[in-house]
Symmetry: C2
Subunit: 429 residues, 2 copies
Amino acid sequence: MDIATRVYNHKWKIDPIVRSLIDTDFYKLLMCQSVYRNRRDTNVRFSLINRSKHIPLAKLIDEGELREQLDHIRSLSLSRGESTWLRGNTFYGKRQMFRPDFMEWFEGLRLPPYELERKGDQYELTFEGKWPEVMLWEIPALAVLMELRSRAVINSMGRFELQVLYARAMTRVWEKIEQLREIDGLSIADFGTRRRHGFLWQDWCVQAMQEGLGDKFTGTSNCLIAMRREVEAIGTNAHELPMVYSALAEDDAALAQAPYDVLSDWHEEHEGNLRIILPDTYGTKGFLDRAPDWLAGWTGIRIDSGDPAGGAETAIRWWQERGEDPQDKRVIFSDGLDVAKIKELHAQFSDRTKVSFGWGTLLTNDFRGLVPDDALAPFSLVCKAVSANGRPTVKLSDNPEKAMGPADEIQRYKRVFGVGEQDSQAVIV
Amino acid sequence: MDIATRVYNHKWKIDPIVRSLIDTDFYKLLMCQSVYRNRRDTNVRFSLINRSKHIPLAKLIDEGELREQLDHIRSLSLSRGESTWLRGNTFYGKRQMFRPDFMEWFEGLRLPPYELERKGDQYELTFEGKWPEVMLWEIPALAVLMELRSRAVINSMGRFELQVLYARAMTRVWEKIEQLREIDGLSIADFGTRRRHGFLWQDWCVQAMQEGLGDKFTGTSNCLIAMRREVEAIGTNAHELPMVYSALAEDDAALAQAPYDVLSDWHEEHEGNLRIILPDTYGTKGFLDRAPDWLAGWTGIRIDSGDPAGGAETAIRWWQERGEDPQDKRVIFSDGLDVAKIKELHAQFSDRTKVSFGWGTLLTNDFRGLVPDDALAPFSLVCKAVSANGRPTVKLSDNPEKAMGPADEIQRYKRVFGVGEQDSQAVIV
């Protein structure tokens, strides 16, 4: 694979960024199946949010080109080989992870329409429709915007300048891998689809991890790459489940219960390593304190916001209080990781619990400092469920910088979930 | 061009290193034409000399593989396109640089046999025959040994490890180019064929120089790459001419005259930028002091051993003594160059004379420090005319470390050419 040449060629013709409906994160498909089973008629609105306002996406990216890419995604349907892989492959040790009724629905799916409007230097991009359909827009929409931005920057670069750009980026990733290789008992996966520099680049990173880390590399969140490179597809569930369930709650009591309803539905559908708690949507501490006992029996927890060491300590303490042995549990770190943090967290926790890492942006998009004005540095773009059946969603997380939703609803959620003062953490990416 | 993939594939099948008779230095062809015209019946013996005894070439390189590569070179003949290019291209502003009688001879040429024997950890590789035929073995023989050694080292590397190796090497070359770009009025050519890491790598370096340096990059010594990349072929003449002419001298008086006979023959054949004196074969100072006046009218001088600044000062002083304006002359530096030295020499001389650089090993083979045990560091391999019509050749140069020939002959040459104490310079590459 010659990335520089391919990327160079991108400059000359239309070249679809997302070429497969499974060029998406595995947990999206797991959640989609769950939603398709439990809440398929919910009307949800997803919206793109560029937290990095200093990146003028609408100036960098031509609207026509963006529409072309999005239209191309709407033309995609599951290919026969992809369907065979989803039906026949073993995920998390289980055959037929995807039920026949879901697969039939998925095979017939085309993504619903999008709404795109330029607002100043930013785009307003929204997707509204049945939850199981619109939710599948999130990852390809992010990937398209990230990669169109990369292309906009590299468009003015010469061929050898480009090759050296990728040479530098490869060297950087490889040096990270060389450091990670030294960590005994490391377990790390690629979670970098959504904020990748580009598809080919993510694919390169995954293969470099395969060769460089061997068994320490546990797989990728990206289904298409997992299929092609024959590695495990990795992922469980995300904030959109409690966010939408919560938005649908009829009153405060139902709201307080909603995040547990999510996990109760999940509990019915999954076991083992798929039973991973994502506790931070409305504050980790309160969530765990009020959690039903059966949840303490789950396999592990994913720490996705706030101080990660603090989050892990909270989880370990909670397991101990509930009579569980943390040594049997797994803590998955997935927020803003890079090598130094991975080393530190592994050193701090690997003796006390099982530790894994979901490494995202700084694996698949660490182009910091490689071009003038740092024009290829990753930035914070998200695509979130913003309303469900007309009601706004709210996310608090363990970092007030990541909170989203209308101010009055945020106050209500804080009250209902008993969230007080929170420590602020800079959002890296 | 995906170097890493191509190089990786080299591991699996026979892949000829030298694929063309013009994958050689341009000055070899110019000299060959001169020799064909003036001394075609001289019997000359070329011999490979590994000055870096710590590199056990015979342990690293399989004899069978080496023979296969050399046999392949013997199967080569000038292709139609190559012949057309040599006949039709403009070299140094001149059409029909190569005379029809020479071209006819060259078109019919196959390289003569070689003799190969393992001696301990080294190979003894010699070529004996008519001078214009055997002289064309030098560059391909060196290129084959250099590249087989590279392949021996990379043979145990993984695919992504390899890709990162080249990523690092590319980054290094590019950073050198970025520094060179800052030098106003720079004029630099690739002289790296003989000691290149590999053919594809030299080709990459030339293209990177083209893109990165623009007009500051004046061309390459490699004819095949010059043809393919449509850049100038660069080069004039080398030590083998005075070495062989001198070996053939019947007595001391004829010996003292021999180096001037070389240039007298050259003077008849070439003009302008091809009239470049290479003065150091038997000591620059004495050579210039005793030079005939017509030589001071030549266009420039090439400094290929000894302290380069000292050599340039000597040349400038000599021109002034002979009533020539150094501003109209050109000094070409071509010995052991890297960026710092290029910057320094350019700063020191570009106001006083025209300055050019022939950049060799540290352009096309700077793999220092990139693999364990520095196993890809360049090393000092040469292939020299060691005898002519049965008489030994001698080279003194301006650096006693580079002297070669039988001890008694070296003494005789020193006496005849009046060479006294010389400063020793470490031979870098």
